[in-house]
């Protein structure tokens, strides 16, 4: 199977086509097409994975040859790809099964399944690609599908806006990736990861160029993986359907950025600068987003910022030098975060609200959702022995062993905050007294089609950390590693710190929200400025609005002004000066000295004429530009060329 692994990405595309073409005939049966396709892909991924344990495969053919530019088409299956294939297909399958219940009766049911299939196909293609060219192609397709998925309910203005925001914000990063790709190509004459890495390893490329290229590639990861400062799209993207969010924010889109850095690790390790920036941005994002998550009251927003924060964690792991840790956390996170999103979807489905302050006491009404959500929380908070604990521990270990201790403490602080805000979310949602009785009365557990995926994912969230634990001799690290892999030796200090941070967070959450030992209101009151800053997400959106959006508008206005007024304005200015001159030195102009009456009339008319001419549309202005351009061009070329 491993020899034909590319089929895994083709199957969802076929599903997409079938849904696209026969949407009307199939009605809600389209779901089975998508689920069946993803099921087959999952099966093939398992086969591929088992074969990949034996060895890696890479196949490549020239697709287009343009002189000395060879654009390849090819795929590879190495441990990284094998793991990613499994993660993507599992999460996507669970999401699609779950959606049968969640999206039931939706106006654009078929379109939803079509896009989910396309989305999965793009991500699968991305992890299978063995070269930058196809990676960029899949990357762009994924960007487009994310736009469609996020603005699925485009009647809602915020959904339409969020889709656009995601599309444009990530595109800024994409520009970096594209340029990085081209730059690497220009210097190595190859798009293929392995060839590029080899050439760089052999020292054929200048260090400075490698650094710039690596940072450009990283920019792509920053955009897609919602790292600071391009994180703003992700929380808004919650306007999309919740299972879609689970797909985007757990296994596909956002994971792509982390995957990219891992895939291009050969470029990053060649230059210390690049990795340092990856770690710094990752660590900062992790802490930054975690603080925001502590004050969000919308359950999906909490999870959204938590996603941003955890992605930062993965980047931190990669940047701190542990390839294995970053990918390990990517995997465990995919399971527990999709579980949490689907769980929150189940809650939203039940109470028709996303506000945690309108929930409460739901554990009795939604027992399955409650228990699975709790497992997800434990995994995310890093409570042993759930999966998140093991992967986080690896990352903290890597940060601890890195030359920058600040990274380690950033990670620890984030871990504490994570435990705190998740505890808060669980307590607000499932414990205490119902705060909205009307909603509480109507709440009921979701149908099996939704709860079964929850249970499966909960199982995975609980146990998927074990392959990376000492119990299984760090099997994951033996399998997924960069080069020869050099695992940092375990440190009981790190483990103790990690566990205490998590427990501290949980305790704080319980103390404030469970037993009200500390009054929430009082805390908010005494820390009001800080609270406001967090509540407004550090005003990043406002800042962007002011700088970029208004800036562009301003620039466009200036340009439009130039186009419209400057030429004519200049003309009029000179005209005005000339007129003043002719007025003052009236002796030279018989029409002015003909008499005060005539003079005043002439000036008034001329002024009116000038005002009229503030509008463009004058051929003469165009002609003046043409010939003035000639004169300026002639002079410039002599200055430059001479």
């Amino acid at each position: 199977m491993i020899e034909q692994a590319w089929i895994i990405a083709i199957i969802p595309i076929v599903a997409w086509l079938i849904i696209f073409l026969f949407a009307k005939a199939l009605k809600e049966k389209v779901a089975y097409v998508g689920i069946l396709a993803m099921g087959i892909s999952l099966l093939l991924s398992v086969l591929t994975f088992s074969e990949a344990l034996g060895g890696t495969v890479e196949k490549s053919f020239p697709w287009a040859v343009v002189g000395d530019i060879k654009i390849p088409v090819g795929f590879q299956v190495d441990p990284l790809t094998a793991v990613m294939l499994l993660v993507i297909t599992i999460v996507s399958l669970m999401v699609q099964i779950y959606s049968v219940g969640y999206m039931h009766g939706d106006v654009r049911y078929a379109k939803y399944y079509a896009i989910v299939s396309l989305f999965s196909a793009a991500m699968l293609g991305l992890v299978l690609a063995n070269n930058f060219f196809w990676l960029v192609l899949s990357w762009e397709i994924m960007g487009l599908s994310s736009y469609l998925l996020i603005s699925h309910w485009y009647e809602k203005p915020e959904a339409a806006a969020a889709g656009m925001k995601a599309f444009i914000t990530t595109r800024i990063g994409d520009i970096g990736l594209l340029l990085g790709t081209i730059m690497l190509f220009v210097y190595t004459h190859s798009f293929e990861f392995n060839v590029i890495a080899e050439k760089i390893h052999a020292g054929e490329i200048n260090q400075g160029i490698v650094t710039v290229a690596a940072l450009l590639v990283f920019a792509g990861g920053v955009g897609k993986s919602a790292q600071f400062p391009l994180h703003v799209w992700l929380p808004d993207a919650m306007a999309g359907p919740t299972p879609g969010s689970a797909l985007i924010h757990a296994a596909t889109m956002v994971a792509a950025g982390v995957y990219l850095v891992a895939r291009a690790y050969g470029i990053f390790v060649a230059t210390p600068y690049a990795l340092f920036w990856v770690a710094l941005i990752g660590g900062f994002t992790a802490l930054f987003a975690a603080t925001i998550a502590t004050v969000m009251t919308d359950i999906k927003k909490v999870l959204a910022y938590s996603t941003v924060s955890q992605l930062g964690y993965m980047m931190l792991g990669l940047g701190a030098g542990s390839y294995t840790a970053g990918i390990f956390h990517l995997m465990t996170h995919a399971f527990f975060k999709s579980l949490l999103f689907l769980g929150s979807g189940s809650v939203i489905h039940a109470v028709h609200s996303q506000e945690m302050h309108e929930m409460g006491g739901l554990r009795k009404k939604l027992p399955i959702t409650y228990w699975t959500f709790l497992i997800g929380t434990a995994a995310l908070a890093g409570i042993p022995p759930f999966s998140g604990f093991w992967s986080k521990d690896e990352i903290l270990l890597a940060a601890y062993r890195s030359p920058y201790p600040v990274l380690f403490w950033m990670g620890v602080a984030t871990a504490g905050l994570t435990a705190y805000y998740m505890t808060r979310a669980v307590i607000l949602t499932f414990f205490g007294q119902p705060r909205d009785h009307h909603k509480y009365e109507h709440a009921h557990e979701s149908p099996p089609v939704m709860t079964v995926p929850l249970v499966i994912l909960a199982t995975l969230a609980a146990v998927s950390g074990l392959p990376g634990s000492p119990f299984l001799h760090n099997a994951f690290g033996e399998f997924v590693k960069f080069g020869h892999g050099h695992e940092a030796e375990p440190s009981s200090f790190v483990m103790i710190i990690a566990i205490s941070a998590a427990l501290l967070g949980v305790l704080a959450g319980v103390a404030i929200y469970g037993y009200k030992v500390i009054s929430r209101e009082k805390a908010i009151r005494s820390w009001r400025p800080l609270y406001l800053v967090l509540k407004n997400k550090y005003y990043v959106d406002e800042f962007y609005m002011a700088i970029f959006v208004r800036g562009t508008v301003l620039l466009a206005e200036i340009v439009g002004f130039f186009d419209r007024y400057i030429i004519d304005g200049l003309v009029n200015l000179v005209g005005w000066l000339g007129m003043q001159l002719s007025f003052l030195s009236g002796l030279f102009d018989k029409y002015v000295i003909d008499g005060m009456v005539n003079g005043v009339a002439a000036i008034t008319m001329a002024l009116g004429n000038s005002a009229r001419r503030l509008q463009t549309g004058f051929v003469q202005s165009y002609a003046i530009t043409l010939f003035a351009g000639v004169v300026i061009g002639l002079i410039l070329i002599q200055l430059i060329g001479g």
Binding site: W63, E140, A556, Q638, G641
Partner: protein, 474 residues
């Protein structure tokens, strides 16, 4: 001397003369339809001839013509453009009650002949004559709706500015003649390689850059374009935005890579600067437009800026990228204008608000328009992506990373105004309810353009391979 290689041009000329007679002597009711059929027949035969004439590469008629791969590319492209525009024109001329619908097609064919000549010129004289044949036809086409004051205004502005720019271009050509004693591009190139770059040669080059830069509407010589595009009849606007523009790029490639190859450093720098301001200003101004034709005018200015990046690269890879991008741009833009024509034939005002609710009134046109916009933005698996990708590559290869960066930022900005249309189509309730009646030939044009956009996005390799074979040096 063999006339066989230019048989397509001869066929087209014969078609023009025949159709002129038809216009004069045919007095039936359906002149418009008859002339369209004749035009399409003439262009089809031209294309067929082109396909079956044995390939020929070299100089013809004492170096007046250069028939090479690039010439073949454009000689094939321009009649295809003509087919699209002819299909778009019939219903439009009928709806707008144009007084002499028949002559429209004759003039269109003459313009196409001029464009084909420009692309296969080997001499300044033939370039000039081809350019003027195209330009004079274009002035007439712009003013074709005599009763529409906007059309007349477009014509007069286009004419006056075009004639002045031709004067500038011609002055530069006369200087090159004086400096080298030759008008043949190959001879000029040879002499310039000995002469180097004295000040006057550079000055003459500036005249050529500005004269031709005007024709492709490079900022700051673009000001005529939005006025001419908005005022001209919509099928003519479609033609302007692809035909004469592509032909002017063909002439630019001819003059600068064939004739002024020794000055590549100087002119690539000039085009880099022009490309920078052209794309930036075009995109930023497009954000502000209310009229869809005017918006598309600025969009096409911006695209001319992108294409100039290939010139700025100054390498054969840049030329390949330009040709591929032109191909993608031409068909995508024709598709867009077919939709605009279909809508304008019913609504009549060409405002952005006319697009409201198009997804309900004509889902096919709306979806096609979205694909065309994606292609213009440069999304993968549409024709526009590979063109942009190659342009990026050519720029980076020539060390113009900054230009590639600006281009990438620009294509992000352009999402803004395309999105306005998409939002109007899908998210805003329609102003006029009811399905939009669309003429069959317009649907055909949209479909063909859509197919080209998508097929070129998926299977660009054969086309690219041929383009490379065409432009590879030596």
């Amino acid at each position: 001397m063999s006339y066989l290689p230019i048989l397509p041009e001869i066929v087209l000329t014969a078609a023009i003369l025949f159709l002129t007679l038809v216009v004069v002597f045919y007095q039936g009711e359906n002149r418009n339809g008859v002339m369209m059929t004749g035009t399409i027949f003439g262009l089809s035969v031209t294309l067929l001839t082109l396909a079956f004439v044995p390939p020929f590469a070299g100089y013809l008629f004492s170096g007046m013509l250069t028939l090479d791969g690039m010439a073949f590319f454009f000689r094939w492209l321009f009649p295809a453009v003509g087919l699209f525009v002819a299909f778009m024109a019939r219903e439009f001329l009928e709806v707008k009650k144009a007084e002499n619908p028949g002559e429209f097609y004759v003039i269109l064919l003459l313009a196409i002949l001029g464009m084909m000549l420009m692309a296969s010129s080997g001499d300044l004289i033939t370039i000039y004559l081809g350019l003027e044949l195209t330009s004079i036809s274009s002035y007439i086409l712009a003013g074709y709706l005599r009763e529409d004051p906007k059309s007349g205004e477009a014509a007069i502005k286009y004419f006056l500015m075009g004639a002045l720019a031709s004067g500038v271009l011609l002055f530069g050509m006369s200087l090159f003649y004086g400096l080298t004693g030759a008008t043949n591009l190959v001879s000029i190139s040879g002499i310039l390689h000995q002469v180097g770059a004295p000040p006057l040669v550079l000055a003459a080059m500036v005249f050529l850059i500005i004269g031709l830069g005007f024709k492709v509407a490079a900022v700051p010589f673009h000001m005529w374009a939005p006025d001419a595009y908005e005022g001209a009849p919509t099928p003519v606007t479609a033609f302007f935005s692809v035909g004469p523009k592509a032909a002017a790029f063909a002439a630019i490639i001819r003059v600068f890579t064939d004739g002024l190859s020794s000055l590549v450093w100087e002119w690539s720098l000039a085009f880099a600067v022009l490309a920078l301001i052209t794309m930036t200003l075009g995109n930023l101004t497009a954000l502000w437009q209310k009229n869809v034709k005017r918006m598309l005018a600025y969009s096409s200015i911006a695209h001319a800026g992108y294409i100039m990046v290939g010139l700025a690269a100054g390498t054969w890879q840049g030329t390949v990228a330009m040709l591929l991008y032109l191909l993608a741009y031409v068909f995508t833009n024709l598709g867009i204008f077919a939709v605009v024509t279909a809508l304008g034939n019913r609504e009549g005002k060409d405002e952005l608000t006319d697009f409201t609710g198009l997804s309900q009134r004509s889902p096919y046109l709306a979806a096609a328009l979205v694909v065309f916009f994606l292609s213009l933005i440069g999304i993968p698996f549409t024709a526009g992506f590979f063109g942009k990708f190659l342009l990026f590559g050519a720029a980076v290869q020539s060390g113009l990373v900054w230009l590639a960066l600006v281009m990438a930022v620009n294509s992000a900005i352009s999402v803004g105004y395309y999105y306005t249309v998409v939002r109007n189509m899908y998210l805003v309730a329609p102003k006029n309810k009811g399905a939009l009646p669309v003429a069959g030939e317009l649907k055909l044009v949209v479909t063909v353009a859509l197919l080209v956009t998508l097929i070129l996005g998926l299977f660009f390799e054969p086309v690219l391979g041929r383009l490379v074979a065409f432009t590879l040096p030596g």
